[in-house]
Structure formats: structure tokens, C-alpha cells
Symmetry: C3
Subunit: 666 residues, 3 copies
């Protein structure tokens, strides 16, 4: 449970009173109360307002905001305001501006225009945070710290000379000697052997493919550099306000911001919070669930906080559809269903001006007489009835492996095929979403002992111990599903010799002799029972101890295995040597789930999602109807309390289009 | 009427004798006379030839050109030759080269490689103009000054440090104080508050959306900077040759060069001239008419000059089709029909070399034995019969509002949808083109009292007084048609609060609760009589005093208004809350035209265009057959003179494929 | 015949022992012998290993490699190791890094990061080559020198200040005076006249089209600059090891690397070698043949060496398919069929790490138990039976003109249409490929007297003497086929006046009045016998002495000539004024072949390719089955020896799918 001064689910949004005349504030607070708001995020972009010049601070306005909110029993998630350095700062420290791959230094004028390794930026932000912590650390309205904003979302990497210097320090720490670095980077290829540390540069624009290990290390280094900014601020906060929880809002499409290895980052925040922006026009509910589920996984199963979602449309797509009636509510409940302890928005009042003015707010330009505000009000009143779910967790039998280093490594250029790692991982999530089996999204080094089934798509890069962990899992009775392009390289992107997939050859009982990448052409596979299409990739597989579960039907690998199964110890290890069409993958995994005793909490109609969370107050059943039609669910003979209506129900239960219900059983 | 030393319509083209051996000149002049040429534009790219080094001028060759032309009764439109600084100039003043958004300084080697705020460029060009004016100002062949060439067409904006400095000066002049600027630019958003003028920069490459008000002001500043170049030269000319009219050739696809707010520019030239380059493969005659019509509008209704068109194909498209037989003639007459007092080409003789050698000339590489030259000769001989139309003007009942600041603002990023402003405005023009109702294209601050119908597409940005002007127009009996995304922001791109479209809410009798942008998906509307498709956008409209004319048929706004009508005073205000398919829009506007008494000069078959111009010599009826088939037009019982054949005609009148006729009635 | 210390066909590949532990080397050599390898290319990317610092050389490892190979009777193609300067070098000489058009200096980290005009690079590479030549020049294993690697493939042009300075030197050498340069570059256009040599710059990023003659000269200069790098190294080798043949590996899609005018380059190597990388997914066998054939043409008919091909898949496409079973063997035989005296691969052992680790090797990651290695072994054993073909040449009756200056000039921007010169030339090659007539690919200045038919697609730019050569050819009884966009400009891209196509007007007996470019729209032509589609382009042709062979059927040039034929002296000159569909072009050229007595060596089924090579050992007939089905060929009554099986055969001969046979007749 997220520690804070409330027993309610969090409800609110970013609040930017500094963008409005002070005369508007009383209306803000009145309407917040009407909407059920109990927490607001303040100050995300207030650096210039808080510190209009080096050494000069103006806190009086923020004092008044704090007091006004506190008087109205609204808590503050105080941002450290370091997300957008003020113009005076950029002018005084031009070297703090980030530089792109081609050497172009970004200009101020938008946001996130700082190099993560800039000493000036690090010092300047720490000073500001110190001031804020000193002034507001003991204010009774302060519920949590919100460090910076969406680290790495706009500037995922900087290539400036400061970064080059820090990269060398990072590399020296990692490799100790140049010889070791040369060995890991395989610099004998293309005459890249380094004879002095100062020769090493970021992977800047070059005539051909830049050394992949160098690129991979630069990804690691940049994730660490951005994380370093967070730790730089956090160390001040830990010193001054150790009792106040600290978070930063994670972001990225489907929760997978490429710039930040969030499994590492999550270790350094008191709870995970997340900004969720699916496209109302065409988002797949399974993808929305995936991102939410990932947040739970990042935090090791703990509840997290939906820190931002739009009340309706955003401003940054080419075409920005509004959320349909009920869609915002449904996606909010979906967040709760996957472990969030609240629902927060960007932002409270739609901006009057600037780049985000067409981003919807809880309170639109049109005021309270709008569908959006009505839906915000309704949700706020409903959440008050759901306080008991705070901190509740979910137990899963299935683990899906996701790994940032594989995200980076699989998508480097000069691979056999262009694989969209996120899409591939999500295709497996989507296939498991419909049978509604509870899933944990975990890193490759996770403890697999709680699981019956582990799914590992494209585990291309294999760090020390990973293969051993999976072997032990299967040996102990687990079922493992791996895919093509797994077990290929070590952590430095060097091929693991001995026949693909070397570290998993014994576990899988196969040898992959070659892999054929044929783009979006179609091939086919068949099992004894049925056929299916596949695309992108075909492994030419030699069986060692495994048996073929499906075979290709054409090309020179016709009649050769496409999917294999190997019995190891008390478990089973499957290998899928191609990219399967969704329908087949879904039924294939469903059969495996049945075989290994993985089942959903309840059978529900297609398009209805069901999840559970449990805590000391009992088990909460979430029923979410993603259809635009009425659905009926048989919840069985057990009597449960519908938390919204207060009714005790059992048996047939009705779900209106886009409706959600939360049922509690003791 | 354009003042000049001739009573003829202008006919000729750019003449670049300095690109040819002098031995070719006599043939040039002989063939010009054969073709009916009476005006040539000289010197557009002659700076290097006129001034081979700082302080050194070589005018002898131009003296000979002037004298040769004068002896042959051909007038000179003398260019100021400042469009392409010579290599010695760029080398001597490297800081005069423009810089792009990413900080790359453009290289010489093509043309228009000058920063509009370069002091060296401003001084250098003024010195050259002074020399030219002093030497040729009183030459009897000099008919007009042609300042520079297509300002802003290749370099619409420069981002160099000189521009940054001048931008600050421009801003200081506009806002006086930093506080005012901070307020207008809403710099409280994203921590952009300026504490010193020197912190302000051009909207250079930045990590995210640059402040929209900053971008908008930079557009204004750059248009003013380019205009400043024109005024810099004009002030010299006004001083030395006040009697000679001054123009510069406007350009841009459909006449809408984004870089230059031509409504402002037109105030500073003695007459508007325009370069017209529709694609012979697929240009819509309505779009060609739009651009011509716009020139008339820019000049406040005065006649203008078609300064450049190709005799046949151009060189700069991926694929450059030739003009079909008769197409050049037809589009020439179309220019006359919309107010041009002549027909000029780029260029007289097709270049032998350089980047434009595959751009057609009046005299092709193939010489006189070519279709192109035959058509040029024919047109030249016809124009001699049309002198009486000079200065004739057109009276319109319909005004179409076009506004450069809306062009800029609507197309900034981070809008609800990607709207092509030019395409949207032209879609309304095209809808009105077929019924042949005379239209004026006007700015939002126009005097609307002469009109019965005003059409205002996407009047998103509303300056002071604009709403009041439209209200008064409707109140006095006018009919107004507005569209979605109107009345949203003030001149600094700040939302006008109070419910969309705030400044027009009362006038339109509606409130727009939200707008849904769905890209190229299709939705539908229906009226009591029929249905139609719409795309891109749907407003969710609440009726206040208006009534619904059409409703949406689907999505959550089904049965809600898509088009509304509000009776205000003696007039009517329509609002169209979506992007309508062309056929429906055409018939819808046609009905409105009928209702408010707007009619065409004559009923003509589809694909035949009819316009009128009038002056002291009577009314001229232009009939243009854009079809490739023979057409018949009933011109009624009034007897008119066919200016080309000299016949007096009435009743049924025949138009060959692509033919044009000009009929005069006293 | 390529001089070297073997009587075998060359078989082997790039060998990079410096990327592997020395313990792997014995296995390498053992497996090489098993695979039949007799030549390996060593040291291509070994600069950093050979010279770890300025002045420090480490040759001991290479000594051991040489000795190991020599002991095992494997020859060495020793690379000069200059393709990728080491990090220490780039750090010490930052100005040696190349700069792109926008002024961005490339970073090291990949390869080919040198400016070809860098003095430091030229000196550094010459010093290294001198060391290598001194040390290994007399080693008995040394078979040939391999200078650098794929010059210009990654960095085809540099735009730095050193290049600018050298460009001026090159121009001074070419034009002597600025006046001459101004005249050739037509700098009177757009005010570009130069008054000082130092004003001249590379064609860097500019606001509009850069002077085309400047661009063309920069292409020439850059090809010469890269060639200068080769000559810089070669001069050292010629001095120290005059007896060792020198080559460099040519590259580029279809053999047409745009950066290097290979007809000029081929004059400076002892034999041509080539890197062949068709896409296994969709390569047209005719295109593969084209590239091979071109190598023969570059060398003036002499045999050449397939220096690199992948054993299976590559790593640099988006999706990298494996070569199908038999495909590598078939394409290898196709190289032999078109004049190669060996089959070499990149590379021997698939790399374990780095950017090319997913590029296949002769010895895959999976080792010897792989299809790839089995196919490599088989081919190696077969080649030993084919030694007698070394040096054999082919006699052709058809010449196809290809010209790098036209490649550059036709594809410059601001042309009537976007023509893909390579595709256009290959469309003529493909049309002639199916009838299997032997073709030479030759430059425009070739001696045409050996040929019956000369085909010249898009001979747009015409240097001195070219028109005269073609005239003489036709006059003496030859048949010439030219196409649209021929005879348009001189070597400085200046239009040849006098009516298109001026230099060929008399020869072709036509005048082209205008050319219409209509993109991918379709038009049609018809002949007395049939109709066909055409696209892209239509010439409006006036017959002078020619007759029409086909006419257009539509548009304003309907019924006017599309293809013409002119009898000149004892020969015929055809002109094709549009871009014809493949099927028509094939049958049209086939008829012309029949008419002028050009015939294939043998009639073969569709998809079977037949070529011949001859030397003192007799005539070798190559039969290549590109089909995936069994084919039968009637080889006639003459008895021939099947070199692979050793059988003597005649009459019906069988070809398995993707099979190849080589039949010798005395």
C-alpha cells in the first residue's frame, strides 16, 4: 500500500495554479471537492516561477496553494520542478543543453532540454529540491514527492562531450581495463581497438553500423545517467524528508519507454507511478492491460499509481479522438483491476495556452457543463466506495519475461530481421489476455518458483544465470515457452557459440541450424489437428531430445519442426520457431495453460476482462466489459458485495456496455 | 489599372540576355516582336554580372539591352537583381548566409541564400538598387521595378543569431515589456518565463513542441523581415524614381506562400504580380481560379499582373508534364478573367544550362518550329485585341475569408487534428466555383457590407474586432457560413474561454462541447432530405438559439447537430461542425446562395467557367471551357462583341474544347 | 587470366584470424582444406591490430597466419588494411573524418570514416602499405594485393574544407581559367559567376537546386579522389612488389556503385574483382547476370574475380533471407559463366561479434553440421574440376552502353522526370537476357566494330566523339537502338542546341519537339501487329528521314511516332521515345536481334540461362537452371564433356532444379 495521509484511493491530477490568475484558484478547489479530488500534483513545470534567477526563490505563491489545498483537505504530490530548466538557466549554462546524434545542440523553447550528465543541471536541480524539501517537507498537505517528469521521454539520449566523458568513467567502472572493454566490444572487428580511454566516443552519426556492444552500453549508460538525475534529487529528499514517499512518473508507449530500464529504476522509488495514454480510436484492451500489468511487475507485485491519463483527448497525435462515453471510466477501473491504488489525470484544468492546450483536462475549457466533467465527477464519487481495495495484490501462475536489454539488443540494426520487441512480447500477452489467466510481467532473473508457466519471447541476449534459472524452473515441474531468436548472444552482444540457441539447447532439446527471415511474406505450419499462418521468421530446427509439435508446410524446411516440446525433469520446454498468427497462438497457449493447470478466476464472455486483487479486506473481483454490448457473467454461487451499488449478489451478473463492477468477497 | 507606358495588355516574360552570347540578342528581339511581346523582365539573377566585385559595376551590357529593347518598342520590367547574391558577396559576408532550424548554415551554389536580417545583405542590395535606379530610372523603356524574386519561396525562415537579435527588437516593439510577452506567450507553461530579453531565441530544434505563440510570432517576424528586405529596396526606388511603379512577384502553391503574409505585403506594392505554376497533369481549374482570384483580393480588387507562368512544362516536379494543346492559352485567359492585365512567362528563351534548363520557355530549345512557340505567337496576337479590358474590375456578392495568421496557427503541431488550411479554404472555394458565383477572397478584417454571403472556414484565431465585424454583417442581413475549429484562440494562440466558439457563440447560437478528430475514418450526416459523408472532425454541438440543419448519424453524437443555422438580426449564421464531402458541400452552399440572392452572371454547362470584368469600356464576359469537349452556352438576347473575332453575337454561343471567349457589352 | 600462384579456380573468402583466439586457427585451416579453399583475403580490417599506435607495428601474428596458411598451401590475398582507420588515428587526426552535405562530421565507431582527400589519411595509409609490402611482398603465400575495401560504398562523398581545397585544384587542372569554368558551369544563371577560385565550394546543402555542372564535376572529383586513395597505395606496391597483381573489390547494387566511375577505375587494377549481394528473396537472375557481366565489361572482356558473396544470408537488409538450397551454388556458377575465375566469400568463419555477426560465413556459427558448410564443401570439390576454364573469354555481338556520367547526370534533380538510370539500363539488359544473346556492357567510347547491335538507353549526356562513333557504327552496317532522353546535353550538362536530340538527329532521322513526362500513369503504343503499354515519358517526334515503327494511341500525340527506324549507310538506327513494358521490349529487341543476325549459343527453355567461354582448352558451355523445376536442354549432336561428372554427352541434357552444368568441347 502506498504510504500517504489518506485512506482513500487517490483521485486528482496535475494542478498548475501558476498558469492561472490567482482569482481562479478558489473555483479550482471548489470544483475539485465536487469532483472528489483528494490529491493533486503541483509544480511539475514551475522551476522558472519558483526560481526566477540564480539564487532567487519565490515560494509565496506556492505557500498559498499549499494552504488553500490543505484547508480543503486536498493532499499535494509535490513535483521537484526540474523537468524544464528556465530560460535564464539555459542561457547561463548553454552546455547543459542536450546534443543529438548528429551534433546538433537542442534549443530551449519546449521542455526536457537538459543533458542528464550536465554538472550544472545536476547542481541546479539539487539546489532547487533542497529548497523545496526544506520549505514544504513538513507541511501537512504533503503526501509524496514527484521527482522530475517522464525522464527520457523527449530526450532519451544525449551525445555531448560531457556525456562522452561520463561514458568513459562508466566504462572504466564496468570494465576496469581497456583490454576487457576491447574484448567485450569485439573491437578487433572493423579495426576499432582502443588504445586509450579518451578515444571512446558515444555512438554518434557514423558512416555504417556502429559497434553494437558500444550502442548497447550507451543505452545502459544513458538509462543510468537519467536514473542518476533521479538519485541526485532523491538523495536530497531522503536526507531532509525521509518519511515522505518518493516516486517519478514512468511513461512510454505501452509502458515501455526505451530510454529507461524501468526494472532497474523501480528499485529506487517508493512506489511505481505511470502515465497511460492509449489511443481512444484503436487501442486494444489487452495492450492497455499490459501496460498496467507491467507497472505491477516493475514494483514486484506491489500496488502502484496511475499518475496521468487524459480525461478525454490528447494533443500530440496527428488526429486526437475523444474518449468515448464510459471509456475513461472503464480504463480507470482497468488500472485498479491491475493494481493501481488511484486514478490521476494530466491535468486538472485544461490549459488555456501553450503546447498542451488541446490536451483534455478534468475540467475542460467548456467548464462543468461538459460530458468530460460529468464523467470525472461520477468516477470521483464512485472511487470513494472502493477504498478497501488499497494495497490489494494479485497472485499469478504465469510469468511473462520482459527485459530492457533485450528490447535494446533485439532492435539494434543488422539483425536477421526487423523485430518489434514490444509488439512481439505483447503478442504473447494478448494471446494470454483473452483466457484471463493472471500474469506477472517479470525480468529474466526473476524467481520463477511461484509460477506454473513461464513465457519468454525473443530472449536473444542472455545474461549470466538466466539459462540456469529457467532450467531449474522446468526441472522442478514448470512449463516454459520460448521463441525464435532466443539464446543467441551474451550481455555484450557476442554470439554464444555451440549451435543456436546455445545456452538453451539442452533445455529445449533442439539445435537451430539456420534462421530464415522473410519479412511480411506468409508461410504456414501445421499440427496434427490444424494449420496456421506464420510470418517474419522460420527456424530450421534439428531435433535432439525434443519432439515436433508443429511442422512447416512449405519452402525448403517443409516437414521440419516449427514448434517443439522437450520433457526435462518434471517439466516441459516448448520452442516456437516462427512468428505465429494471433488466433493460433491464443489457442495454442490456452491448451498449454490447461495442461499445466493454469486457470482464470472465472469463465467470462469474449471481450469481458476479469481480474482479482486480495488484501486483508478480502478478495476483489473486477469485471470489465470492453464490448459495446450488454454482457452477462455467471459469477457462481458465492455471495459477493458489489462495492458500487452495495448490493449482495451471486449467479448471473449483468454488465452494461463499457461497464465495470467490483465485487468483494470476504 | 497598372500604370505603365503602354495601352496594351502586358505580354512577355523574363529575359536573361546575360546568359547568352550577345549575337543571339537580335534574334531574341525579332522573335519577341513576332510573338507580340511588349514587356520583358530583365536582370532577376544578374547581380554577379552587374557587380562582379564590391564597388565594381558593369552596366554596359545592360545599357545595350535597354537600347535594343527600346528601339524595338519593348518595355522593361527591371529587376533589382538582389535575389541571388554573387559568390564574392557570400564569401566576403559568410554571416549573410541563412541558417536552418538545426543550425546548419546554407551554402551558396543555388539561389536565395541570404538571411533577410543580414545587415550586409540589406546594405549590399540597397547599394545595387541605388546604382540601377540612378542609371535606368529615366530610361524611356523602363516600365516598372521588379524587386527581388519570390521572397521567401526557398528560405521562408532563417534561424541565425542576427535573426535572433532582430527578433528581440521586433518583440520589444510589439510587447514593450517582458511581462507582457510572458503573458502573451503563456510562458508559465513548461517553465519558459523570460527574465531577460536576451534569453529569447528563434524556435530552433527542440526536444518537444516549441511554444506556439513563439512560433506564431516568429512567422510574423519572418514575414516582416522578408517584407523589410522589400521595403529596404523600395525606399531607394521611391526616392529616385517615384514615378515608376514597383512590384514583386508573389508565389507559392495556390498563391499561398506560407512565409509571407501577402495581405500585409500587398499594401506596399503598386500592384500585385503573381507566379502561377499549376500542374498540367492534374490541376483543378477551381484551384487555378482560386490563386488568380486571391491576387485580385490581395490588391483589394485592383487588376494585377500574371508575372510568371511556364509556356509548357516546369523542371522542379518529380515528373513534369507538358501543358496540353490549348492549356496554356486557356489558363492565360483565366488569369485575365480573374483580373490580370497581362500574361507573362518565365521565361522568354529556355535556358541552355543550369538548374532550370528543363523549364520551358516561350522560345523552346527546339526554336520556332515547335507547338509551344506557335501557341505563344497565337496568344500574343490575340491579346492585342483585348486592350480594352485593362483595369477592369469585378463585383462579387460572396466573400471568402482567408488569413495568413490562421494558415500558420491552424497548421501548428499539437492541434486536435492535422488540418491542411489551404486545402480546407480551397474546398469551400471549389464548392462555390461550379455555380460560378463571383467571389472575393478577403482578410477577416474586410468591410463585409458589400457582400450577401461571407464564408469563413476554420477561423481558429480571432483578432480583436473580427467577431464584431461578422456580427454586424449578419445583423445587417448578411448570411455567414462558419466551420469547425473557429473562434478558438486569440492572436497569441490562447484559448478564448467561455465555451467554444466563445467569440461566435452568440452569433452562431451554439456551444461546442467537445471536438472529436478521427482522421480519415468516415462518419455520416443527414439532413431531412439526404445524407452525406464527412471525415476528419466532428463537433459535439449544443444548440442554444440555433436550429439543427443536419445531424450526425453515428457514434456517440448520433442525432446531434452537425450543421446549424441561427437567425440573428436580419441575417443568418450557419455553422458546419465537420469536414463535408465535396458534392454535399457544393449543393449545400448552392442552396444558401439561392436563398440569399447570390447568382452567377449566367448559367453555363458544367466545366465551363464564366466571369465578368467591367470598366469604362463596358462589361467583359469571359467564357472558359475547361472541358475537352465542345460546349454550348446561351448568352441570352443581349448583343455582345466577341473581342477576338470581332463578331457581334447573342443567344447560343459555341466553345471549342479548352477554348476561351471574351464578349464585350457596352 | 589472373596471374597468381595457382592453376586452380580461386576458392575461399575473407579470413579474419585477428578476431579469434589463436587456438581457433588450426581448425580454420583444417576446415579450409576440407572445403577446398585455396585463397583467403587477410587483413581487410586489421589496421588497429597491425599498427596499435603511430609508428608502432605488430606483425608477429600476421607472420604466423601467413606461415600457417602457406604450410597448408593456401594463398593469401593480402588486404592493405586501410579501410577503417583505428581510433588512435581518428583521435590524432580529427580532420581526417569525413563531413556530410550538411556539415556534420562523421564519428568513428563503424568503418570507412576517412575523408578521401585527407593528407593524414593518405600519408598514414601509404606508410602502412609500405610496411606490409616490405614485410610480405616476397612471402611465397602472397598471391595478390587487395587494396582497401569497397571504396566509396559508405562514404561516397565528403564535403569538408580539405575536399573543397582539393576540388579547386582539380578544377584548375581541368578548366585552367575561371572564365572557362564559368562558361562550362553556366554560372551566368542564378548569379553564380566566380571571380576568385576560393569562392568555389562543394555542393553543400543549399536552399534550392545546386548548379548541375558543379554537382557533376563534384561527382567526377569524388570518384577521382577515391581513386586517388587507391593510386596512393598502389604506387607504393608497384614500387616494392611489381610482380604481385593488385585489385580492389568493386561493389554497389547491381555492380553500379554511384560514387565510383568503375570504367575509369578498372584501368588501374590488374584485374577486376567484385562483391555480389543479390537478395535471395527476390533477385532477378538477369540482374545477377548483369552485375557479373558488367565486371567483364569493366575489365575489357578479361576474366575477373568474384571476391565476395555471402554463403547464405546477409545482415544489412531489413529482413535477411537465407539462400535456398542450391542458390549459392547456382549463383557461383553464374559468376563463372560470366567470366569469373573463382568464387570467394565474405567471409570464412561467421563473426562471433560486431556489426556483421549475422552475416553468414562459409563456416557458420553452427559449425560444420550445417547446410551452409555442406554446400560450401560441395562447391569447393566441384571447382577443382573446372580449372581449365581459367582465363576463358566470351565473344558478344551485342553491346549495351552504360556510363557513369550519365548515371550521375540523368539522376540529378530538376530533370523532366525521375529516371532510375540503373533500372532503365537493366530493363534493356533483362529484355536481352531471356533470348540468351551474349552481351558486352561497354562505355560510350567503346570500339563498336565487333558488334552487330548496340543498345544505348538514355544516352543523355554526350561527350566529344560519342555521336561520331555511333554514326560510324551504323554507317558500317550496325544496328543501333537508342531511347528517349538521349543526346540532350554536353559533358557540362549544357543543352546541345539545334532540336533534340541534336547530336543524333541526323543519325536517327527525327526531331523531338517536346517530351511529356507523366509519371506512373499509363499510355499505350501500337505497331501494325500489336499494342503495348508504356509509362513515364512520351516524346513528341517529328520524322525527318526516319519511319515510324510504332505510334502512340492517345493523348495529343496520338498517331504520332513512338518508335522510329532510320536507314543510315548500311545500317539501321532505332529510337524508342517512351518507356516500354518489359514483355513488348523483349519481343521487340528479339526481332531486331533476328534481323541483324544476333543469336544465342543455343535454344534453351525459359528460365534456363546459357553462356559460353572459350580459351586454349576449348569452348565451355554453361547451362544454368534458374527454375525450381527439372528442365531439358537439347545441346545438339556435338559431343561435349561434362566437367563435373566427366561424362561425354550430346543431345538431350537434363538440368535439375537450380542445377548448373559446364560442358567442354574442344
Amino acid at each position: 500500500m502506498i504510504t500517504a495521509r489518506t485512506s482513500q484511493l487517490f483521485y486528482g491530477g496535475d494542478y498548475n495554479p501558476d498558469q492561472w490568475p490567482e482569482s481562479v484558484w478558489p473555483e479550482d478547489v471548489e470544483l475539485m471537492k465536487r469532483a472528489g479530488v483528494n490529491l493533486v500534483t503541483v509544480g511539475v513545470f514551475s522551476w522558472a516561477k519558483l526560481q526566477p534567477a540564480a539564487g532567487a526563490y519565490t515560494f509565496d505563491w506556492l505557500d498559498r496553494v499549499f494552504n488553500l489545498l490543505h484547508q480543503n483537505e486536498i493532499l499535494v504530490d509535490l513535483a521537484t520542478a526540474t523537468a524544464s530548466p528556465p530560460p535564464w538557466f539555459s542561457r547561463q549554462h548553454p552546455e547543459s543543453l542536450p546534443v543529438n546524434e548528429s551534433g546538433v545542440r537542442y534549443s530551449p523553447g519546449s521542455r526536457q532540454h537538459y543533458c542528464p550528465n550536465s554538472t550544472a543541471y545536476r547542481n541546479g536541480s539539487a539546489q532547487l529540491v533542497r529548497q523545496l524539501a526544506a520549505r514544504y517537507g513538513s507541511h501537512p498537505a504533503l503526501a509524496m514527492w514527484h521527482i522530475n517528469n517522464e525522464y527520457g521521454a523527449q530526450v532519451g539520449a544525449c551525445y555531448c562531450d560531457q556525456c562522452a566523458a561520463q561514458f568513459r568513467v562508466w566504462l572504466q567502472h564496468k570494465y576496469k581495463t581497456l583490454d576487457t572493454l576491447n574484448e567485450h566490444w569485439a573491437t578487433a572487428v572493423w579495426s576499432q581497438s582502443y588504445s586509450h580511454w579518451d578515444e571512446i566516443l558515444p555512438p554518434r552519426l557514423a558512416p555504417a553500423f556502429v559497434n553494437p556492444a558500444q550502442q548497447l552500453d550507451y543505452r545502459r549508460f544513458m538509462s543510468d545517467s537519467l536514473l542518476g538525475c533521479l538519485l541526485n534529487e532523491k538523495s536530497v529528499l531522503s536526507e531532509i524528508t525521509p518519511q515522505i514517499p518518493v516516486t517519478t512518473n514512468f511513461s512510454g508507449e505501452h509502458g515501455m519507454l526505451k530510454a529507461a530500464n524501468y526494472f532497474e529504476w523501480a528499485k529506487h522509488v517508493d512506489f511505481v507511478s505511470f502515465n497511460s495514454y492509449p489511443d481512444p480510436l484503436d487501442a486494444d484492451p489487452a495492450d492497455v492491460a499490459f501496460a498496467y500489468n507491467l507497472q505491477r511487475g516493475l514494483g514486484g507485485g506491489k500496488s502502484w499509481l496511475l499518475m496521468e491519463q487524459p480525461a478525454s483527448q490528447v494533443n500530440w497525435r496527428a488526429h486526437n479522438a475523444v474518449k468515448r462515453p464510459g471509456q475513461m471510466r472503464l480504463w480507470s477501473y482497468q488500472a485498479l483491476a491491475h493494481g493501481s491504488d488511484g486514478v490521476m489525470f494530466f491535468q486538472w484544468r485544461a490549459a488555456r495556452a501553450g503546447a498542451e492546450k488541446f490536451h483534455s483536462g478534468m475540467l475542460p475549457h467548456g467548464g462543468t457543463e461538459t460530458r468530460t466533467f460529468r464523467e470525472v465527477e461520477q468516477l470521483g464519487s464512485e472511487l470513494k466506495k472502493l477504498s478497501s481495495i488499497r494495497g490489494a495484490t494479485t497472485r499469478a501462475d504465469v510469468a511473462l519475461i520482459l527485459d530492457w536489454e533485450n528490447f535494446w539488443a533485439v532492435e539494434l540494426e543488422a539483425r536477421p530481421a526487423r523485430i518489434n520487441y514490444s509488439e512481439l512480447v505483447r503478442s504473447y500477452y494478448r494471446a494470454l489476455f483473452e483466457p484471463d489467466v493472471p500474469i506477472d510481467i517479470v525480468p529474466p532473473e526473476a524467481d520463477f518458483s511461484p509460477y506454473k508457466l513461464v513465457v519468454a519471447p525473443a530472449l536473444y541476449l542472455v545474461r549470466h544465470g538466466v539459462a540456469e534459472g529457467l532450467e531449474a524452473f522446468v526441472d522442478n515441474g514448470g512449463t516454459l515457452v520460448m521463441t525464435f531468436f532466443s539464446g543467441i548472444v551474451d550481455a555484450s552482444d557476442r554470439v554464444l557459440l555451440g549451435g543456436y540457441p546455445a545456452p538453451f539447447r539442452k533445455l529445449l532439446g533442439i539445435r537451430v541450424e539456420e534462421f530464415d527471415a522473410f519479412g511480411n511474406q506468409l508461410r504456414h505450419i501445421k499440427t496434427p489437428m490444424r494449420g496456421a499462418r506464420c510470418t517474419l521468421w522460420a527456424d530450421v530446427i534439428r531435433l535432439e531430445s525434443a519432439e515436433a509439435v508443429a511442422t512447416f508446410t512449405e519452402d525448403f524446411y517443409a516437414h521440419q519442426p516449427a514448434i517443439t516440446r522437450n520433457a526435462v525433469g518434471r517439466g516441459l520446454a516448448y520452442y516456437i520457431g516462427t512468428h505465429l498468427e494471433p488466433a493460433f497462438l491464443r489457442s495454442f497457449l490456452a491448451e498449454i495453460c490447461v495442461d499445466c493447470g493454469v486457470r482464470p478466476p472465472m469463465r467470462v464472455p469474449a471481450g469481458v476482462e476479469v481480474t482479482t486483487r486480495s488484501n486483508e479486506h478480502g478478495e476483489f473481483l473486477f469485471l470489465l466489459n470492453h464490448n459495446s454490448t450488454l454482457q452477462f457473467v455467471d459469477i457462481g454461487p458465492r455471495i459477493r458485495r458489489d462495492l458500487l451499488s452495495g448490493e449482495m449478489i451471486k449467479g448471473q451478473c449483468q454488465l452494461a456496455p463499457r461497464d465495470a463492477r467490483v465485487l468483494q468477497s470476504a
